[in-house]
């Protein structure tokens, strides 16, 4: 920034003085740079913090009888890469009709909300990932369970019956 020269003229006469160079430096760009770097470091350090979601699987060695779950109160969810298949009831039953939806907030989330309201506390979600499913899809579904406040869910392996049902539905 321009410094106003207030020393005045004085060319004529007088003693010859050695010209004193000003010791002031314009610090503005330096301050700018400093704050820019601070902003950068602050943003990158806080954004990189990972969070975790806990996943508890059943103990395979434990043979204790667990509480039975009614087939009519379960929803089986079969995540695929871009869509989610789901059906209610027992696999292979004529009453269990495979339907398809997506991962958006109007998709599987609304299904979970609706069924939770309908069935109540005993509503159980069974997640069986299809062969095409990505890890992201599974995490998305677990997340949906957390959003819709369902604590009863299980991860199971997909069975040939499920695959057959998806194939038959043709969706």
């Amino acid at each position: 920034m321009a410094e106003i020269d207030q020393s005045g003229g004085g060319k004529k006469g007088g003693k010859k003085r050695s010209k004193k160079a000003s010791t002031k430096i314009d610090m503005t760009p330096m301050v700018d740079l400093g704050f820019l770097l601070i902003t950068f470091f602050m943003l990158t350090t806080t954004l990189a913090k990972p969070v975790t979601m806990q996943l508890s699987m059943p103990d395979k060695t434990e043979t204790k009888e667990t509480s039975p779950v009614k087939a009519s109160e379960t929803l089986t969810v079969l995540p695929d890469e871009n869509k989610v298949y789901y059906y209610q009831g027992k696999p292979g039953d004529a009453a269990a009709v495979v339907q398809v939806t997506d991962y958006s907030d109007q998709g599987i989330r609304q299904v979970l909300f609706r069924l939770k309201k309908q069935i109540g506390q005993n509503f159980t979600i069974v997640i069986k990932a299809t062969k095409g499913a990505k890890y992201k899809n599974m995490v998305d579904l677990l997340d949906e369970c957390a959003i819709t406040d369902n604590k009863r869910y299980a991860l199971l392996e997909i069975t040939p019956i499920d695959e057959e049902m998806v194939k038959k539905s043709g969706k």
Partner: protein
């Protein structure tokens, strides 16, 4: 009558103090920031609404799954790491030299078959990526080395928790395999590392 001249004031400020503060803060942030450990591959975890930070006071085994399905493992407990190397080297029959041990301790992750232990550890960790040593830990029904590494780490420190950091685009099958391996040694609680995401409003 002469015109009244408004007295001009100098517009320049003394920025020295401001500059001092800025650089003090900058130094502080730079020194306190933790460097992200060098990753063998870039892993982008999926996002979730969970807000819990990773519990790390007891030590964590981090199992990473790369987009192409390769499996890596890291332990933040130095003692357990040391033990892992000793037992694994003993198993494959490789004598450990001081260089090998130093390189193993300096590396954040294990990501190579145990058969290549000697070859890999004789190089510095910084050269591993360029040489293509990060081939992943074999984890299938024939050779399940992930099982061994985790067992050895757990032997040294049974309180170690298991965190799984999977890439969003990795296949679910690999994750299933990792979980199956861990369940077969009776580890049933996992921390899935995810990125933060905003909670939906409703």
């Amino acid at each position: 009558m002469p015109k009244v001249k408004a007295k001009r004031q100098s517009v320049s400020l003394d920025m020295t103090a401001m500059c001092d503060v800025a650089f003090l803060l900058l130094t502080f942030f730079m020194l306190t920031a933790k460097f992200r450990p060098e990753e063998a591959v870039t892993i982008t975890p999926p996002t979730s609404i969970s807000e819990k930070p990773l519990p790390s006071e007891k030590g964590v085994i981090t199992i990473s799954v790369a987009p192409d399905g390769k499996i890596f493992m890291g332990v933040d407990d130095k003692e357990a790491q040391q033990m892992m190397l000793e037992r694994m080297a003993n198993r494959v029959g490789v004598p450990i030299t001081a260089t090998m041990q130093k390189n193993f301790m300096a590396s954040e992750i294990v990501g190579y078959p145990a058969g290549a232990l000697k070859q890999v550890l004789e190089e510095k960790p910084s050269a591993w990526k360029a040489k293509g040593y990060y081939q992943g830990i074999p984890c299938d029904s024939v050779t399940n080395e992930l099982f061994l590494w985790v067992t050895y780490a757990k032997l040294a420190n049974p309180a170690l928790q298991v965190a799984i950091k999977g890439d969003g685009n990795s296949n679910y099958k690999v994750f299933n395999q990792v979980v199956g391996t861990l369940q077969s040694q009776n580890i049933n609680v996992f921390q899935l590392i995810t990125g933060p995401e905003n909670k939906p409003r409703n």
